[in-house]
């Protein structure tokens, strides 16, 4: 049995990659991908602990999270399409009309 620390390290790494992408990129599509990475880092944790405790609840929960992630992507892509239409591009730093 693989010790849970490894899973957790993997999850933390994936999460950090996601955060890194979120902070450094300006492309909205890459934003969406980074968010997906962070979400899946959480999923890894759920599965890992579920496996460790021998309880399938966490794994079942992950299935739902996946479905939710798919829905989120659909909404996110919709937003990106509108962004593209209104600002002639998907650079998030251009869309700054909602400010003080």
């Amino acid at each position: 049995m693989v010790p849970p620390q490894y899973y957790l390290l993997l999850s933390a790494a994936v999460f950090c990659i996601g955060i890194f992408g979120l902070l450094t990129r300006r492309n909205a599509l890459l934003f969406l991908m980074s968010v997906e990475l962070m979400l899946n880092a959480a999923n890894i944790n759920l599965v890992a602990f579920s496996y460790y405790w021998g309880n399938v609840t966490g794994q079942t929960f992950t299935l739902f999270t996946l479905a939710l992630a798919a829905a989120e992507v659909a909404v996110g892509l919709g937003i990106i399409l509108v962004l593209y239409r209104n600002f002639d591009g998907v650079d998030v730093t251009n869309a700054t009309t909602m400010r003080w």
């Binding site: 979120l22 902070l23 300006r26 998030v92 700054t96 400010r99 003080w100």
Partner: protein
Amino acid sequence: MAGILDFAPAIVLLPFLSFLIALGAGRYMPKGGALAGIGATAGSFVLSIATFFAVSGGQTYNQTIYTWAEGLDAINLTFGLLIDPLSSMMLVIVTLVALLVHVFSLGYMNDEGETGLPRYYAGLGLFTASMLGFVVADNLLMAFMFFELVGLCSYLLIGFHFRQDGPPSAAKKAFLVTRFGDYFFLIGVVAVFATFGSAAFAGPDAFPVLAEEALNGEHSVNTFLGMGEQAWFTVVGLLVLGGVVGKSAQFPLHTWLPDAMEGPTPVSALIHAATMVAAGVYLVARMYGFYVLTPTTLAIIALIGGFTALFAATMGVVKKEIKQVLAYSTISQYGYMMLGLGAGGYVAATFHLMTHAFFKALLFLGAGSVIIAMHHNENMWDMGGLKDKMPVTYYAFLSGSLALAGIVPFAGFWSKDEVLYETLIHGLGGSPILLAAYAMGLLAVFFTGFYTFRMVFLTFHGEPRSGTARDPHGVRWNVKGPLAVLGVLAATTGLVNMVPVEKLFGIEGIDFLHQFLDGSFSSLNAHHYAELIPYSSGYIGGEAGTVAIGAAVSLGFALGGAALAHVLYNVPEPVEHTDKLGSIKTVLYNNYYQDEYQVWIATGVVQPISRVLDKFDQGIVDGVVNGISSVSLFAGGRVKRIQTGVVSNYAALLTLGLTALLLGLGLLGGWFA
């Protein structure tokens, strides 16, 4: 069995209904809503008569009708009806006078082509309803509410001719001056609630009864400011008295009343005889069981009353307008009632309240008739010689004047004499204050006789002094009818309580009013009050001798005043004798500069204080509020700059926040230890 007293609420509701009808539909009705008012007051009058006889038969009524605020551990605030001899007598007076005033208004308002009649009759209806509600109120708070309604209605009616300059200003003055007294009354109501936990006039938790038991040490009540019970009750009594002084136009809050003559004359009759001004005195009579417990308050009431009686009578001597003379006579007569109450003459004062209601309504309506005849000229120096032209008015007015002056056997003699007699015997019993008040009251009798007959002679006797007086405008049945009814009453109501005759000739059982007011609730009858009065009686030459001396002296003073008026003014061509008074005349014309000094208090004392308070309000109270808001505005202006609109910045802030949170949790949780 549903007794007649179960219909008592209708007495109040009928005039209220006429108010609604006149207000809503008066424009479409013949006579501008007058008929609804006449019908309603006539109905109330009939019910009041029935109530009166039921109460004479020993029935009483004390019911809570509606609880409009209740709490579990708090005081319930209620509307209720209390019908006892005092209120049933007052109901008859108010409804009768209101009915006659409504009828008279047909002649004074409708026939004279006034506009705005629905408003007028609505005002009369509401006025009557408020006063009746006040009369039957079973607790002090309800009495206060109707007291205020009465004040509001007087404001509306005095300012009826609102397009002229005088009436709106007089209406405001009446409202504000009486409001000033009512502030004290309101505090008094709260004090009564706080002290006794109840403001009922009658019943098991009536506050006069509770106060009496508290003074006997049977149980304790809440007192405040570290006072003993006696002192605190005096304070409460004086607070309530503030409202009485304002409404009943006693010194120093009497200044509104002469100005209130700006209202239509029937309204003056209603205000002075049955409603508004009577409300103050009635309130003292209503809670007399409380006032008799505090000798200080009683003495103050007697002094105020005696002083006002004399003070107002002297001012009435020099006035030129017929209504002004009557206005000062009203103040003076209510002074007598206060004197009677303060001197322990509960029945005497109530008796005077009743007789005064009749003869003063009569005099005002008579003056109204004269004013119609004179084409709304009120100056007595333009009148003269009217007695042959308008005999009904003359004889009715004469009957009222004899009653006002206190000439035997007209109504005013009996009641005024009894007031003075009660004051005299209790004063002789060892109370110099009452003797002083008695002296002032007695002197006022002389002035009353003088100004009353000066008015009669100037108006009706001698030669006509103007063209209109030579050819006066005629009046119709609707003016003569009420005058005739009241003329008979002014001549005869004194007979219901001929105490001097009883005492002098030993005829038992003709003091009907005494017997009547002795009935009903044991805590509310005259007998109970007589036991509680803190005065002892003294006599000169026995009881009968004192009665005879008192009556003879007051009658002598009244006749003396009348005789002086006869000498000076009952001549074909009277001249103004007031010039002989010299500088006193100026002082009297200016009403002892009462208005001036009150204006000075307002501008010279109250205004500077208000300015200081305004500074405090604007500077400190508003300053704190404004300071808080400007700090928030400034901080908000700075903080809002982090809202750049760039998503990456938000993401960075979120990440930083998460990191900071993790670090904080870690440090506190000891992860790095």
